[in-house]
């Protein structure tokens, strides 16, 4: 049951107002300076408002408002650069479970995530930061009736506060699997891996003979597991692009405001065409990114076959556009924009992490090229 335009506007304005009050940039800076690096009370409030389960079907206790609604929340969290386990838990872990074939497991874990008693995250990147299943650096094998994990995963969001970790692993013979584990399991070691973007919390997770029951697999190993990992990845790409769009929109607002206020040569600098056109270019990036991520989010509520393609389209455009836009936003602010005190670099660093967190635009373009070229060739075959 998707939201009407009015309901979406309403959600946006509620979210913005909460973020404005609870997460102005001074607060963000203060929060990231000390452990745990995010505002637990704000996170609890977000859970309480139902944001973290806004796209979850009613059967699992969610609001059933679809990914289009989730996109609105993500945009606003990006706008305010909120540090929180939202992406890890509400987006990645929750989506993984929603896509899972293991209904019992999904019900159990989604229940806890939706109620907010539990935080989740997904470990599905290699230690090199790649999502190609064949290059995963966490392995699995069957030992008796259990699954055993060994190896490590990189770039796991908020792993230190996650209760449940969903792990993508690949066996020696190249068969992928996806399992849910308790992060407190024996053999799990979590190490921080700080990112340049201080509003995000990355970790590497090492697994040494971690024993998991077979029933904790989200789906059959093999092709279906690969598909599931691809689905989580697609959700991640689109979610990160929503975040980047929100941050860039805020950068646009602040840049335009600065251009109206800052006087040089007796005029507001925004009256100079060079500055005006930089601002216009940022506005183009924001409008285009917003249209792209909204369309991609709406499509997440529909046919999963198109997820990967839409994710790659989104990655190809949104990441580079937002990075370039925030760079110009910083430049329009001049020396002030180049200081640590000013928020320009925070926006820029956040969108740059968003851009590559779930695969580089170049990798996504190459994936997309495969699809596009194949479909042209099929069309040709049909015609001939």
């Amino acid at each position: 049951m998707s939201l009407t335009v009015e309901e979406r506007d309403e959600l946006r304005s509620t979210a913005r107002s909460l973020c404005d009050r609870k997460s102005p940039s001074e607060r963000v800076r203060a929060v990231v300076a000390d452990p745990p690096g995010f505002d637990r009370a704000l996170w609890d409030e977000m859970v309480g408002l139902g944001w973290s389960s806004i796209h979850v079907p009613a059967a699992h206790g969610g609001s059933d408002a679809g990914y289009a609604a989730l996109a609105v929340v993500l945009h606003e969290l990006g706008r305010a650069m909120v540090p929180s386990p939202f992406l890890a838990s509400a987006v990645l872990a929750t989506s993984a479970l929603m896509c899972s074939d293991n209904n019992a497991l999904a019900s159990e874990l989604l229940g806890a995530l939706v109620a907010g008693g539990s935080i989740g995250s997904v470990a599905f990147a290699s230690t090199d930061g790649t999502y190609e299943v064949s290059r995963l650096t966490t392995g699995w094998e069957r030992v008796d009736a259990t699954v055993r994990l060994n190896g490590s995963s990189g770039f796991v969001l908020d792993a230190d506060v996650a209760d449940v970790l969903i792990v993508g692993a690949c066996s020696d013979d190249g068969t992928p699997a996806v399992v849910a584990i308790d992060s407190a399991s024996a053999g799990v070691r979590i190490e921080p891996a700080a990112s340049v973007d201080e509003t995000r919390r990355l970790f590497s997770v090492a697994f040494t003979d971690v024993v998991v029951a077979e029933e904790r697999m989200l789906c059959e190993p093999g092709a279906r597991a690969e598909e599931l990992l691809d689905q989580i990845l697609a959700v991640g790409v689109i979610a990160a692009a929503c975040d980047a769009t929100g941050a860039t929109e805020r950068m646009l607002d602040r840049t335009a405001d600065y251009a109206k206020d800052r006087m040089q040569f007796g005029k507001p600098i925004g009256s100079f065409q060079a500055v005006k056109h930089h601002c216009a270019n940022i506005a183009i990036a924001v409008e285009a990114s917003r249209a792209a991520v909204n369309a991609a989010a709406v499509a997440l509520d529909g046919e999963p076959n198109a997820w990967a393609r839409n994710a790659s389209v989104t990655s190809s455009y949104v990441g580079p556009a937002c990075t370039e836009a925030c760079g110009f936003g910083l430049r329009v602010h001049g020396g002030i924009g180049f200081t640590w005190e000013h928020d320009s670099h925070l926006y820029l660093k956040r969108v740059m992490l968003d851009e590559v967190m779930f695969g580089t635009p170049s990798w996504h373009r190459r994936r997309l090229a495969r699809t596009v070229i194949e479909s042209v060739q099929e069309e040709e075959l049909q015609r001939s």
Partner: protein, 398 residues
């Protein structure tokens, strides 16, 4: 026979249009038209306009009473299917169907609508006399004068970049009626019979070889007062009033042509080619990324257009988005053309006959590249569009 009535099921409409395209668009029209003379081109476009009219697809966006009546979602379907079917472009009737008609529907008297709209539907060609040699980006400084003399305006002056003036029946003409007023005031919109005495049309050849542009000279041309659209001295507002939705749907068709035909043509070009190193172009990472990047940009453009059309339906102001779309479209097209000419190398620099009625989708990439500069210049340069975004959308000072 009309292919489909308005108001039915969208999927059925799509099927009908697709089927009609498959059976009515000549498979070899591009080959036939390559290197055509201007007369052959005009004859072909008149024939194609008649085909569309007969099927009810010439003016889907017009009000029902005048021969249209398709909803915006239906118009989107029609535009998409014409693009997908590789239909010839309808350049000859573009001004009449997409610019003049919406302005008439919006601002003309019922008598004027009755007089002009059926003509457009029946194949009369319109042109648009806005720009002048000294009024380009600064359009409002136009100087073509119209003096009221009894029941007539007498028009003297010069227009430029007037597409299809050489075969046009009518001209939507902006003239200055009050030279004392500030420059945006004092402008009036007239409909001028292009067969009137005192009009001289001189073709201008464009950088890529086509000659559909013209200079038009008006020497004491008599225009009856009842051919004025809107009030005297209110022409600037009347001309700006052309609805955004029609433009968005037109660009949507162009975007679908890019996303489907343009990308497909680029893939085919790469598939038939080896890079200088001997590597098949279609296996090269750089070529593949360029194709994917352009495809993604075309998709994003489609999303912007759809969002804009939604906003039009909701009655939200979309002025800034129009400017964004114009810039985005120009840049996406130019980037693709440049990428393909890039990997074609020196072979891509060989001359080929023009395929004028296909716009930029001619498969003669170097020509299409040169053509693509037109999008950054005509109808408001990308620089002026960026001013519009900065000032109207972001509120930056002039």
């Amino acid at each position: 026979m009309v292919v489909h009535e308005p108001g039915g099921n969208l999927d059925e409409l799509r099927r009908s249009v697709r089927e009609w395209c498959a059976t009515h668009i000549p498979k070899d029209w591009q080959d036939q038209q390559r290197g055509a003379t201007n007369d052959e081109l005009v004859a072909f476009l008149r024939w194609w306009g008649a085909e569309l009219r007969a099927t009810g697809l010439l003016v889907p966006h017009w009000p029902k009473e005048w021969g249209g009546g398709f909803s915006i979602p239906e118009q989107v379907v029609i535009a998409e299917e014409l693009a997908r079917g590789g239909a010839p472009r309808n350049g000859l009737y573009h001004v009449g169907v997409f610019n003049a008609a919406p302005t008439l529907v919006h601002s003309a008297t019922p008598e004027q609508q009755q007089r002009f709209l059926p003509g457009i539907l029946n194949g009369e060609v319109w042109c648009q006399g806005f720009s002048e040699p000294n009024a380009g980006s600064d359009l409002a400084s136009l100087q073509t004068r119209a003096v009221l003399d009894g029941d007539n305006y007498v028009v003297t002056g010069q227009k430029v970049w007037t597409s299809w003036a050489q075969v046009a029946d009518w001209c939507m003409l902006l003239v200055r009626t009050d030279p004392e007023a500030s420059k945006h005031k004092g402008i009036t919109l007239l409909v001028v019979d292009m067969h009137s005495p005192g009009i001289e049309v001189r073709p201008i050849k464009q950088a890529y070889g086509a000659s559909d542009f013209n200079e038009v000279f008006f020497d004491e041309v008599v225009v009856p007062v009842d051919q004025r659209i809107g009030r005297e001295n209110d022409g600037w507002a009347v001309a700006q009033g052309t609805l955004a939705a029609e433009r968005a749907i037109f660009i949507l068709e162009m975007t679908e042509r890019l996303r489907l035909n343009g990308i497909e043509a680029a893939v085919r070009e790469a598939a038939g080619w080896r890079l200088e190193s001997g590597e098949p172009a279609l296996e090269d990472a750089g070529v593949r990324e360029a194709i994917a990047e352009s495809y993604a940009e075309a998709e994003v453009l489609r999303h912007i257009l759809n969002a804009m059309i939604e906003n039009v339906i909701r009655g939200v102001d979309v002025g800034g988005t129009s400017a964004i779309i114009k810039i985005f479209y120009a840049e996406v097209i130019q980037k693709l053309m440049r990428a393909v000419t890039g990997w074609q190398g020196v072979r891509g620099q060989l001359d080929e006959p023009l395929l004028e009625c296909a716009g930029w989708e001619t498969g003669f990439w170097m020509n299409d590249y040169i053509h693509s500069f037109g999008h950054a210049i005509g109808g408001g340069t990308s620089e002026i569009m960026r001013n519009v975004i900065g000032e109207r959308m972001l509120g930056l000072p002039r």
